[in-house]
Subunit: 351 residues, 2 copies
């Protein structure tokens, strides 16, 4: 297969982990006789430095003309503590999601056998957990009108959802459940929010078309608690943008490290693959960043093009590296820690 892959390494540890994913994809191409072409572009703080904007026109054009996008991470502390900054790295990511119509963010959460004891949660709580989170990604309070009064003393953000925005991701979530354990849990705050009540109404209607899928509802506050008390109750979680942001980061502790979690953001035409972790600027260029999340993003990319054997090969290599403790310090406290690129090398060689 021929694939043109846009690579957006971004900020902080983004470039170093993305390098490992590329290494691994090249090994796969060699082994399985594919043609992967990588084209690199700037996004985030680095794009602001180079072009004055977090998502330069040429980056967007490149993405739109590629088969898939491999994303690193964005964010830089110099913007976080400056509430008055007009241009911010995150705008690049948000704009990319919006412009490419990547309306569903899919985050698999699994407890790795080899890492069960790494989690702050007890073994019997997380053993066997296997959740797929479907987070709406181009609507809600992220994209609603934002206002700051002239005197700077009053601010607002509008959370808005249309039936259509809810429908399209709901279908994806129910289809996913059909191929899994057949359960969808909608996380909302329908006892307070009008948008949540619309979600509940639309999802209830659509659920009727999937009689083989069981459906339940959970208020987001309760869901945040249940995720820790009993994560095994979840199969597919469906939720709006902001709740999905919070719940999926929380769920990342189940796996033992956020450094292992990959995600896919998909739309009608485009698809982007990225680690769940952020740019982690403190770790930049120290060789301590865990590349597994980025490498598993590459596996999700391959699965998107139905290259299942290839993806499986990556997963086997990753499991092997974990078993042999060929890992970065976040998950390897008791062994010699291995650098970011050495982990990539091992997985490349294995393939």
């Amino acid at each position: 297969m021929k694939l043109e892959i846009a690579v957006l390494p971004g900020d902080g540890i983004g470039p170093e982990v993305t390098d490992q994913a590329i290494k691994v994809l090249k090994a796969i191409a060699l082994e399985f006789d594919h043609m992967f072409k990588f084209r690199i572009a700037d996004v985030g703080a680095v794009a602001i430095d180079n072009y004055g904007v977090p998502l330069p026109e040429q980056t967007l054009t490149l993405c739109a003309s590629s088969d898939a996008i491999l994303f690193g991470a964005i964010g830089h502390p110099k913007y976080d503590n400056d509430p008055s900054a007009k241009v911010r790295p995150e705008q690049g990511l948000l704009k990319l999601r919006k412009e490419l119509g990547l309306f569903a963010n899919i985050r698999p959460v699994k407890a790795y056998d080899t890492l069960l004891d790494k989690s702050p949660l007890k073994r019997h709580i997380i053993e066997g957990v296997d959740i797929s989170i479907y987070r709406e990604l181009t609507g809600g309070i992220y994209f609603g009108k934002k206002e700051l009064s002239g005197d700077g003393n009053m601010a607002s953000d509008l959370c808005q959802y249309s039936r259509e925005e809810i429908e399209r991701i709901t279908h994806l979530a129910f289809e996913a459940a059909q191929n899994r354990r057949g359960k969808v849990t909608l996380v909302d705050k329908a006892n307070v929010l009008e948008t949540s009540r619309l979600w509940r109404k639309v999802v209830t209607e659509i659920a009727k078309q999937y009689s083989d899928v069981e459906m339940d509802f959970l208020f987001v506050d309760n869901a945040a608690m249940q995720m820790i008390l009993n994560p095994k109750q979840f199969d597919v979680i469906l939720t709006e943008n902001l709740f999905g942001d919070i719940i999926s980061d929380e769920a990342s502790v189940i796996g033992g490290s956020i450094g292992l979690l990959a995600s896919a953001s998909v739309g009608k035409k485009y698809a982007m693959f990225e680690p769940v972790h952020g740019s982690f600027p403190q770790a930049k260029n120290k060789g301590i960043a865990n590349p597994i999340a980025s490498i598993l993003s590459a596996a999700l990319l391959l699965e998107h093009f139905e290259l299942f054997n290839e993806a499986q090969m990556i997963r086997i290599a990753v499991d092997k590296s974990l078993k042999l403790h060929i890992s970065t310090p976040d998950i390897n406290a008791n062994y010699d820690t291995i650098s970011t690129s050495k982990v990539g090398d091992f997985i490349e060689d294995f393939i």
Copy 2:
């Protein structure tokens, strides 16, 4: 001391747990020679049944003419799955908060020594945790304009904050930190939300007046993760309404059971005390509801009137009951479980 206490038992397990708190307060009055007068009124689903509205006028008047309010719980499943219900129990609670100006909800989160092994989190993660969450309670998306389009296909909720709303709770949080370990963590989503950027700006300004308090910021998604990975890093958490709802329910797992957590909602003039748990309708009238959260709410009430010895007496009695496993099934799986009212009786007798 003479106190007129409005009691709003509400729905589900609300009445049975509130009964235990009253029992305990009566014992305290006897022991310390106080005059507590209790006046009971309806709120929530039961008020809808009796009066057609979740917060009848006479309930509000009673609260406004009392020294403090003891609240049970509200909520009934018949409203949750009906997105079109115009009248809902939760409106009663929200209106009460708003009308009485209860702008700060304060939730202490502690790991009880006797319950350390009850938590889904590992002992070394939670041992010694002592957090106080300051959640803004009368602003944000809870109270912003809600709209549903005529055709029912588009819904919105407005999240709004003014400088003044942020300032008053921020002062409370910093004052609390001065009497604790001297640290305030603001939880927000300033990389996306305009309201969060206003929070960050205002809080940063106010922090300068408290040079003995250290201050840091955490995005809410990261905070949801850090609460599990390393809750000991937190002293006072300050946050807006919706984030506070999610984070404080999540934090409840640290204590081993949400059945132990009490909260105070305070304003300029009024103060209300309530368990963090909800109405838990499945458990209603089964004698299995844990009354400790309600009893500890009574302790918070006493502290509010500077009756520190009295409150301390309740805490000692509660600790004793936990040590002796005089507890409801949620925290007592390995022992004979004791009913809601028997737990209340024990604590009453002890006092």
